[in-house]
């Protein structure tokens, strides 16, 4: 589904990603872990098409298409979803109207008709229960005055509504208490299928207890330095990121 | 700690401490203004012909102009015919060294805390001292000359570098730019000239000290700073005047030109005599200051601490013509008793990616009126221009006024302009907190005012910052409690 090859990216001339390789197949859940400043969020932003990031080398292919050729909205319509680490507050824009517009854009892209109001409401109800989000929140302006946890839940709710093929969860666990974490993870798990895939970016192993990944990668210094199964996360939690660094140094010296 | 003690001492002691008159032999021309006076000034200074022509042209235009009335200040009309336009310490012969300077004059500057004796100077500051508009001494000239830096009085510059003066004088503030600038252009008697050649970082602060001494005179000095490509200079200006019952006029012009990658930092501590507690006397300070960022990535930064003058009318400005150029304005203006200040800045964005920052702190006490007036203009051509302005006013007492008059004129869609202003007083709770910790109210106010002004004071060179802090405290003395 998604292939990242030798990806280099920089912001304001500073290279952050220094050759990332990653392949994600349909139905897979990959986790990316790594210390602060390793480039995790940069990877998420590059995947979503943020213009502030310059891709200087390498490629990203999504279902055979060159993703880097597409604007952010075109990627979204192709089925890429980014759950933001810091969702923006947009006063005056109601969540409902916003989502309906977004959904219809995506449907139009797929050659489908606009969804009618009743179907839309029904769909909303159903997806809301998935992430246990309060109707009151949906009626307010987008993310305005939401708590950290409410914003994250709203992200997952939007994901549920837009039904992406490939979703990037950028530190969705940060700022969540244990109950919220369970709800969010539960929502994600219900959306998992053989046809879609996820990239879960996190600093801690905790989230991966709830969203069990097929693969775990460690991103450090702008590169994936170690990959493994779900147990790698546990090992990391236990030994810390220094362990990876030490091991790498040892490898280099050997 | 000792610094704080100094401030406290100042707070509890005196009035305007620079208010004495020096007994120096003066040459003063009769009061009144006409073409002959302009010719006389030019002749006395043995100026080249072009300078006289320039002055006369300015004078003729000034005659047609009207005194501006838009500022938020009130005063009886100035009688321009009752002022003497030239007063100079009498020189008996050409001075060869500082030893030959009138000892009374040297004492004058010692009392001001400005030593002109190079040996005694703290290293790192070159001083041009201007008394009643005439430069009396410039220190460290030779050392600067080795680097190609020209730092001398305007009179000397006209004799020694007439081609430079001719090229740059009026290039930023045209002769008839406004009423007071036109007056200055016609009658300016001296001032400082400063030229930093390409690529030179001036190794010391350059400083001009202005003092009005004679009675019934106006002071009209003119400063011109030219920073060539890639050069840097930090320039300081200080000023004091005797306490006199009548009002005296000060109408100066400062022009700064910065070429590609040049940076000029201009700091002023303005401490002209503000008049007495009843509003009698004091200086009318009508000043035009403007910098032109002509080159790419050039930068001009104004910092001013305004504590003096009965009336201040002053808007140090930056014309941001070069792409990526930067303009800054940091100001603390304190008014007490019957002082009136209408001061601020203009940031004119013309080039692409130009940036400007305005930080203005106004403190009003007594029966004073303190106004911020600032213009931010983003021309159509100034793509990606950015401005941020913060104007805060602090009121000490219920008989004073604090006013904010920003003008924002924006014609570029890819620009961002933000202006914020607040007005407040020192909270009772804060005062109580300080009192409870053992500070009396005056100390507490001094502390709070310094904190309120910190962002601006931090921009001043060290020596000046200490002086400025003391000044703030003195200026506000007796305003609370």
């Amino acid at each position: 589904m998604l292939q990242i090859k030798n990806l280099h990216a920089s912001v304001d001339g500073n290279e952050i990603l220094k050759g990332v390789d990653l392949e994600i197949k349909a139905g897979e859940v990959h986790a990316i872990m790594g210390p602060n400043g390793s480039g995790k969020s940069t990877l998420a932003s590059v995947l979503a098409g943020r213009e502030d990031y310059d891709v200087t080398e390498g490629s990203i292919t999504f279902e055979g298409q060159d993703l880097l050729e597409l604007a952010a909205e075109e990627r979204a319509r192709e089925g890429i979803f980014l759950a933001f680490q810091y969702p923006v507050e947009i006063p005056g824009v109601s969540t409902v109207n916003f989502l309906k517009t977004a959904l219809n854009e995506i449907r139009k892209h797929r050659g489908q008709d606009s969804i009618d109001a009743i179907d839309f409401l029904q769909m909303m109800r159903q997806k809301m229960s998935l992430v246990e989000i309060d109707e009151k929140l949906i009626k307010r302006s987008l993310n305005e005055g939401f708590s950290g946890g409410e914003k994250k839940r709203n992200e997952i709710f939007q994901m549920a509504m837009l039904e992406p093929k490939f979703a990037v969860l950028d530190e969705t666990d940060s700022g969540l208490d244990i109950d919220a974490l369970r709800i969010v993870a539960g929502g994600v798990n219900k959306l998992r299928s053989l046809n879609n895939s996820f990239l879960v970016i996190t600093h801690y192993q905790r989230l991966l207890e709830y969203i069990v990944p097929d693969y775990v990668h460690v991103l450090s210094g702008g590169k994936i330095v170690k990959s493994g199964g779900k147990d790698l996360a546990l090992e990391l939690e236990e030994k810390g990121y220094d362990w990876v660094r030490t091991e790498l140094t040892a490898d280099a010296e050997a | 700690m000792s610094q704080e003690t100094d401030i406290l001492e100042e707070v509890t002691s005196g009035e305007y401490k620079y208010g004495w008159v020096s007994d120096i032999e003066q040459e003063i021309i009769p009061i009144g203004l006409n073409e002959d006076v302009v010719r006389l000034i030019s002749a006395k200074k043995n100026e080249p012909e072009f300078m006289l022509e320039w002055r006369l042209k300015a004078f003729r235009q000034w005659e047609k102009m009207k005194e501006p009335t838009w500022a938020n200040v009130h005063y009886p009309p100035v009688d321009f015919q009752s002022i003497s336009y030239y007063a100079a310490p009498k020189k008996k012969k050409e001075l060869q060294s500082l030893d030959e300077v009138d000892p009374e004059l040297l004492r004058t500057f010692d009392r001001l805390g400005i030593s002109l004796d190079e040996q005694k100077r703290l290293s790192g500051v070159a001083v041009d001292a201007v008394i009643d508009s005439v430069s009396v001494a410039t220190t460290f000239r030779h050392k600067l000359a080795e680097l190609g830096v020209i730092f001398c009085s305007m009179s000397e510059a006209l004799q020694e570098h007439p081609e430079l003066v001719r090229k740059y004088l009026g290039s930023v503030v045209p002769a008839a730019d406004n009423y007071y600038a036109a007056l200055n252009s016609a009658v300016f008697s001296d001032g400082s000239f400063c030229y930093i050649p390409k690529g030179v970082r001036c190794p010391m602060e350059l400083s001009t000290y202005f003092r009005i001494n004679a009675a019934n005179t106006g002071q009209f000095e003119r400063t011109l700073i030219v920073a060539e490509e890639g050069s840097y200079v930090s320039y300081l200006e200080g000023c004091t005047a005797p306490m006199r019952d009548e009002n005296q006029l000060h109408a100066a012009v400062v022009e700064i030109l910065a070429l590609d990658n040049a940076e000029v930092k201009y700091s002023t501590v303005q401490n002209w005599y503000p008049g007495d507690k009843n509003g009698k006397g004091g200086i009318y300070n009508f000043v035009t200051k403007r910098g032109l960022c002509a080159g790419r990535k050039s930068k001009i930064s104004w910092t001013q601490v305004e504590t003096g003058s009965a009336i201040t009318w002053k808007y140090p400005s930056v014309v941001l013509k070069g792409d990526n150029s930067v303009g800054e304005f940091y100001s603390v203006a304190v008014t007490n008793n019957f002082q009136q200040a209408d001061t601020g800045t203009k940031m004119m964005h013309i080039g692409k990616n130009t940036r400007s920052l305005i930080v203005s702190k106004g403190i009003s006490a007594g029966k004073s009126q303190n106004s911020y007036r600032g213009l931010v203009r983003i021309n159509k051509t100034a793509k990606n221009a950015r401005n941020f302005s913060q104007c805060d006013s602090l009121l000490l007492g219920d008989k004073c006024g604090a006013h904010t008059f920003p003008y924002l004129e924006i014609s570029q869609k890819d620009s961002v302009v933000e202006h914020e202003a607040t007005t407040s007083k020192i909270g009772e709770d804060i005062l109580f907190y300080c009192n409870q910790r053992g500070l009396d109210t005056e100390e507490a106010v001094s502390l709070i005012v310094n904190g309120f002004s910190r962002e601006v004071l931090n921009q001043l060179p060290m020596e000046f910052a200490v002086e400025a802090q003391k000044l703030l405290a003195i200026s506000l003395e007796g305003s609370v409690g």
């Binding site: 979503a48 098409g49 213009e51 604007a71 952010a72 909205e73 979204a76 319509r77 979803f81 980014l82 933001f84 969702p87 923006v88 947009i90 006063p91 005056g92 824009v93 109601s94 109207n97 916003f98 517009t101 977004a102 959904l103 854009e105 995506i106 892209h109 939007q158 837009l162 | 006013s393 009121l395 000490l396 007492g397 219920d398 008989k399 004073c400 006024g401 604090a402 006013h403 904010t404 008059f405 920003p406 003008y407 924002l408 004129e409 924006i410 014609s411 570029q412 869609k413 890819d414 620009s415 961002v416 302009v417 933000e418 202006h419 914020e420 202003a421 607040t422 007005t423 407040s424 007083k425």
Partner: protein, 439 residues
């Protein structure tokens, strides 16, 4: 103001119209009201139309709008404007008492009043009642437009809401210029008095019939007595050839509330002066404005809030979106008088420029003479938040759609302040149609 200014012609026309009116008086020329008018005319002749040299008109050049050859009638003119046309102007779903003025003259046959209890309406032309004179405290001495209105507004509405009465229906004042047969200028005056604890909603709508140029001058004097509440909404969505000048003077007494919302969605020239005096403790004033302009439209919102006594509050928010070569002006002044301690006054002006030909000139001002106050103002100009734009695009919205949705959100903050549901919907609809986006 030099006598050779280009607007001399219109000045002469105003004088001629006044003379013509005087001839119709037959002895009534000696009334106090007429004396006021005559002195206002003298004042107008002396002041002329304002020029940009006047600080309050620095960014607003009236010369182009005063050069036209307007028809200026000193008495009611026949018109074929009918009820159907009037209905087409009234916002859908708005249930209001309707007062219609054509070229400044009250048209009873086109108006519809439901005789609400406690509401008294007179038209100035037919029955200038007891004491209902154009007030004298207006800024006539500095502003030629106000003087002109005082001299020439021969008709208008005098509205009183009796103590304690809460009007069930809003009052809609419809000002129509009939410019089918050529350019026309008109002047009218509104005098509104809400007695103690009364509550009312006033809506003003400017319109024109025909393609000629119109210049409308409207001065309103509003008194909001103790505990009363007045909501005042101004709808301005005219074409390039329609010009208007509105001067609103509000006097508020103790614990009263006044709210002004002005939606300027179009017009060749719009100048709104809003001057509020807070005369009684506990009074609160709200001012909201939205300007959304394109082409060469011009809107100038001038506000003055005068905090004269302690413990009053004021809040203002003006927003503008400017496209093409449109120009917006905002000038907001807050004065806090020496005795007006414990004043809270806030003012905000936010602007978005959509085109390099567009301009915003803004002058937020504070004049503070009391120390125990909380006052602040802010003014910004910029683009829509880049993060918000990206967020919307990452959900599949095109850049265009994302911009539109943000523009709508920007505007809605002001429209939400309109206290009449039908009007709010009407405005949202106008907004959506002008931004071609359905939300």
């Amino acid at each position: 103001m030099s006598a050779s200014a280009p607007e001399t012609d219109l000045t002469a026309k105003v004088v001629a119209a006044f003379k013509q009116y005087e001839q119709t008086l037959n002895g009534a020329a000696e009334t106090p009201l007429h004396a006021i008018r005559r002195s206002a005319l003298d004042q107008f002749v002396q002041l002329g139309f304002p020029t940009p040299r006047n600080e309050e008109w620095k960014y607003t050049n009236v010369a182009p709008i005063t050069r036209r050859d307007y028809r200026l009638a000193a008495q009611p003119q026949a018109t074929d404007i009918n009820a159907e046309f009037v209905r087409s102007l009234v916002p859908a779903g708005l249930d209001a008492d309707l007062l219609v003025f054509v070229d400044g003259w009250y048209k009873a046959d086109l108006s519809s009043l439901s005789a609400q209890a406690g509401l008294e309406i007179h038209n100035l032309g037919a029955s200038a009642p007891h004491g209902a004179q154009p007030a004298q405290q207006l800024a006539a001495d500095t502003d030629g437009f106000v003087a002109l209105n005082t001299a020439l507004a021969l008709d208008g509405a005098i509205i009183t809401v009796r103590a304690g009465v809460e009007l069930a229906r809003p009052i809609l004042l419809l000002y129509i210029s009939d410019v089918q047969a050529g350019d026309a200028m008109s002047a009218l005056r509104c005098v509104v008095h809400l007695e103690a604890n009364a509550k009312a909603q006033f809506i003003e709508l400017n319109a024109a019939r025909g393609d000629g140029h119109s210049l409308q001058s409207r001065v309103a004097e509003m008194r909001v007595a103790q505990g009363a509440r007045l909501d005042h909404i101004m709808l301005q969505n005219q074409a390039a050839q329609n010009y208007q000048h509105n001067y609103t003077r509000v006097d508020q007494e103790r614990d009263s509330l006044y709210r002004n919302v002005v939606a300027a969605l179009g017009g060749g020239f719009v100048r709104n002066d809003l001057s509020i005096a807070l005369n009684g403790e506990g009074a609160h004033a709200d001012m909201f404005g939205l300007s959304m302009l394109n082409d060469r439209e011009f809107v100038d919102n001038h506000t003055l809030v005068d905090h004269r006594v302690p413990n009053c509050t004021s809040n203002e928010l003006y927003k503008g979106i400017y496209d093409d070569r449109s120009v917006g002006v905002f000038n907001g002044k807050i004065i806090v008088r020496p005795d007006a301690q414990k004043t809270n006054a806030f003012q905000s002006n936010r602007n978005v420029l959509l085109s390099d030909g567009a301009t915003i000139n803004t002058k937020p001002q504070l004049e503070i003479f009391a120390d125990d106050v909380k006052c602040s103002h802010g003014a910004t100009s910029g683009q829509f938040d880049a993060d918000a734009l990206f967020y919307l695009r990452s959900r599949g919205l095109s850049t265009e759609a994302a911009r539109t949705i943000l523009m709508h959100a920007f505007a809605v903050e002001v429209l939400d302040q309109v206290p009449v549901e039908a009007l709010r919907l009407h405005l949202e609809h106008q907004l959506s149609s002008s931004t071609s986006f359905d939300v």
